[in-house]
Amino acid sequence: MSTSPVAPAPVDAIGRSASPRAKRHPDVFRRQQARLGWALSAPALVVVAAVTIFPIGYAIAMSLSNVTATGNGFSLSGLTGSNYSIMVQAPQWRYALFFTILYTVVTVAVEVVLGTCIALVLERLAAGRGWMMALLLVPWSMITVINAELWLYIYNPVYGVLDNIFSHIGLGTPVILGTRVPAIAALMVADVWKTTPFVAIIVLAGLVMIPRDYYEAAEVDGATGWQAFWKVTLPQLRPTIALAVLFRVLQAFGLFDLPFVLTSGGPGYSTQPLAVLAYNAMFRDLDFGPGAAVATSTALLVVVGCVAFIKVFRAQAGTEA
């Protein structure tokens, strides 16, 4: 604030003007400060740009040309849309797109509902909330690959604990990861276990910020618990939940680690999301052009989704303010 030309220069304890230069030459000082800002940011921005801008540009270039792998790198030739047309015509890509969207919608919906319920419970907890919060952070901080191995062990058809429970209650011993629908469900369960706590923590932080008087006012007006939840809690929580949804959607769309280890995309390609498809196309089948097309279009979808979300969210926040 003190650097703004109209604001009076701040004065320190003994009455000296705190920034004499700012008083005399506000513009010069401001420009100096801005230069300092860029100088301080430069190292970080250079590192980020060097490692991200070039690969992003190169990936786009790969997706738009004929790529051949040579002894020392790739050679790109010609400008072509053939990688994208190969991609669009491949049933694997169409299925992966469908699967990624299905997976994102279902897991995020379940996690938000379940996470909100958990947050509501923990908010009312009289003692031990700190411990529960710490416990919630354990699945969040767990290496996804380990999470995948753990559920692989649980789902094992021979000595897995889930089939053992199933057989006790008369459901037999299904080969869970060997059939399409159960495999998809199994993958989602593993995701829900790891990520619901993350949503719960975000929502809980939003919950405790709702002013107490809102609830008191609702109570005075004779609102029931349900009414207070729908009319006070939920509307107040909306920005928080929106943020959690955004984080989760972006993450779920880039889904890789969990299916890569837990199902290897199978059976067939029935649990293969876009990122695994792109990885397999490039690193396993060495189809670099089409693989780059899959990867680039996935990234584009994420960026477009992110921008659209921010726009919509800002517009909504604007109309309410």
Partner: protein, 281 residues
Amino acid sequence: MRNRSRRGWRRVFNGVNLATLLVFLFIVTPLYWMITAAFKTPSNVEVSPPQYFPHPLSVANFTDAFSHYSFGRYIVNSAVVAVVSTALVLVLGTLAGYAMGRLPMRGRFTVLVVLLMISVFPEIAVVVPLYALLRDIGWLNSYQALIIPYTAFFLPFAIWILRNYFMAVPREMEESARIDGASPLRTIWSVVLPQTLPGLFTAGVFTFTACWTEFLMALSFNVSESYRTIPVGVALFGGQFITSYGDIFAASVVAVVPIAILVFIFRRNVVSGLTAGAVKG
């Protein structure tokens, strides 16, 4: 309605406590299964029907993971990569976060939005070009093959977190440090940083966790045994032949413990980091 006083048995057996118990079981049951598997004897890990309570207890899986497989090597690799990347992110992120939060730079909002985009960018889109680049400069299977990309990819989020903390520090102290003739770096170091220590912890824990758990780049750039990190080591445990879950879970317990302790100590920072966006809008 809220916090109403409960009497007698209702103080313990009420809906809230029962629901909390359910939440507790939901989280702990899979963890219980992993930890007990690690402490079963190697032959009991894969026995049908499964042992619900491991008997006898054994640490054979742990000795296996460290002697038959080079799990100790993977831990060292993960630690080196995560510690160096986190240090780099904190140094660069502090300077940039301070500038973005405090200094009147034109276009800084655009920069921040671009950084946010980069931090959500799917890794898969950059892995192959980075692989080609790292191969060209002969960096595949090295520490820097992960340290540099991790630093770049996890910096944007750290800059956002730190910027939020820097914006909250009162300006007066900075002004008087400047009057006393302190250089900008010195002002940041001895006046501003001490007040943003919680922010540094938050950014640090997040970056460390992200480095510790990252899989795709580690799998693509560093598959050689001597530079594998824990996630790659766990995923490729036992090669393509038999997955020995006992070894995997013994290793997993060892890998989960340091991060769980870290997160437990800094749980307030983690929570405030997770919710920084929500709070600051």
